[in-house]
Amino acid sequence: MVVKVYGPAYATPKRVLVCLIEKEVEFETVPVDLLKGEHKDPEYLKLQPFGTVPVTQDGDYILYESRAILRYYAEKYKSQGTDLLGKTVEERGLVENWLEVEAQSYHPPIYTLTVQILFSSKLGFPRDENLIKESEEKLAKVLDIYEERLSKSKYLGGDFFSLADLSHLPFTQYLVDQMGKEYMIRSRKHVSAWWDDISSRPSWQKVLQLYAAPFKN
């Protein structure tokens, strides 16, 4: 039985897709149209009571929250594909540290930018230019700290590519492409090199080829 991933068109489920490809795990996808509100259908809410994507279904084992799904597959398939967690408790501790940084400090401003810039017209509300400006400023401060970190460490969690880096791929791709804010990455030498490295991985290129964003550029 092959694991099903719900909502592949959207950024958050793409975290899971790139992880599964890195771990050489076969999967299928099930479309969910957020713009039509399919994530709030009673059938979907039975799988994910908070009504968000992604969900994975592995036989009877249903999981939600993308970072919990990442950790599960990275751990379950530890001995195949890329090691995304580190070899020791201490290495894992640092991977978890920077995955939390992504979740707590990077994600909120970049998510706000995504909703305001890319989804506001589709969801029927006007862009809040003040909020966009504030979010860009917050994100810039976080990127300054990343610049310092990446001047001392090849990847965020240490000297190996891990979940901490992987988790940044989908929304940062929106930032440099559809949002037209590539300058935020390119103006920071080490962040720029790190972005080129992680975004050119065959796994991420495959996700981009197979699963289009839910809108044109």
Partner: protein, 214 residues
């Protein structure tokens, strides 16, 4: 002492780490950070937490920040000391614990943090309380707690039938929230209320909560 927590008792994120250490019965030292004088935004603190946030953590040569990463590190490294806070014996079980830690982080934390800021933090700094924000965030919190009520009607604890980090991570904000007039949001939901009574009466919770004075 090998384990050092840089922070202070009133800080919810520091409390999250102290709760984990207390549950595991581990020895540790709290290194106070002079937040009032901005010590957390300067060196040497920034070399422990470059975001200038509280807490930071050391275990010998290991240096980590982000309270939820610190608690997981402790639960894994000291798996065989004290209680198992992750459900380590089975990946499918520990992943459910992880899922509800993510739910705390992404669904519960944001409205709760906004409410505590309005009701408890702002008054300390002489900033006016915005009742509209409280109302909006309480509505969001209510919807999240409805899902919790359903979950806890089927399971004694959020991660399953055992106390885990999934429950523990909620405690710091709830300690403050239950001291406010809005605590009925918890007590009006029978399973959530029973869960809170259970986890708040654990000796480790009582010990750490006593030090959380505003």
């Amino acid at each position: 002492m090998a384990i050092k927590v840089h922070g202070y008792a009133m800080s919810t994120c520091t409390a999250r780490v102290l709760l984990c250490l207390s549950e595991k019965g581990l020895e540790y030292e709290v290194v106070p950070v002079d937040v009032a004088n901005g010590a957390h935004k300067q060196q040497p603190y920034l070399s422990l937490n470059p975001f200038g946030q509280i807490p930071a953590f050391e275990d010998g040569d290991v240096k980590i920040f982000e309270s939820r990463a610190i608690s997981k590190y402790l639960a894994r490294k000291y798996k065989d000391t004290g209680i198992d806070l992750l459900g380590s014996s089975s990946l499918t079980v520990s992943t459910i614990v992880d899922t509800w830690m993510e739910v705390e982080s992404h669904q519960f934390n944001s409205p709760m943090q906004a409410i505590i800021r309005q009701m408890i933090v702002n008054p300390i700094f002489g900033i006016a309380t915005d009742e509209k924000i409280i109302e909006t965030e309480l509505e969001k919190l209510g919807k999240v707690l409805d899902v919790y009520e359903e979950r806890l009607s089927k399971c004694k604890y959020l991660g399953g039938d055992f106390y885990s980090l999934a429950d523990l991570h909620h405690i710091p904000y709830l300690v403050y929230f239950m001291r406010t007039p809005k605590s009925s949001v918890i007590t009006s939901r029978p399973h959530v209320s029973a869960w809170w009574n259970d986890i708040s009466s654990r000796p480790a919770t009582v010990k750490v909560a006593e030090t959380m004075k505003v």
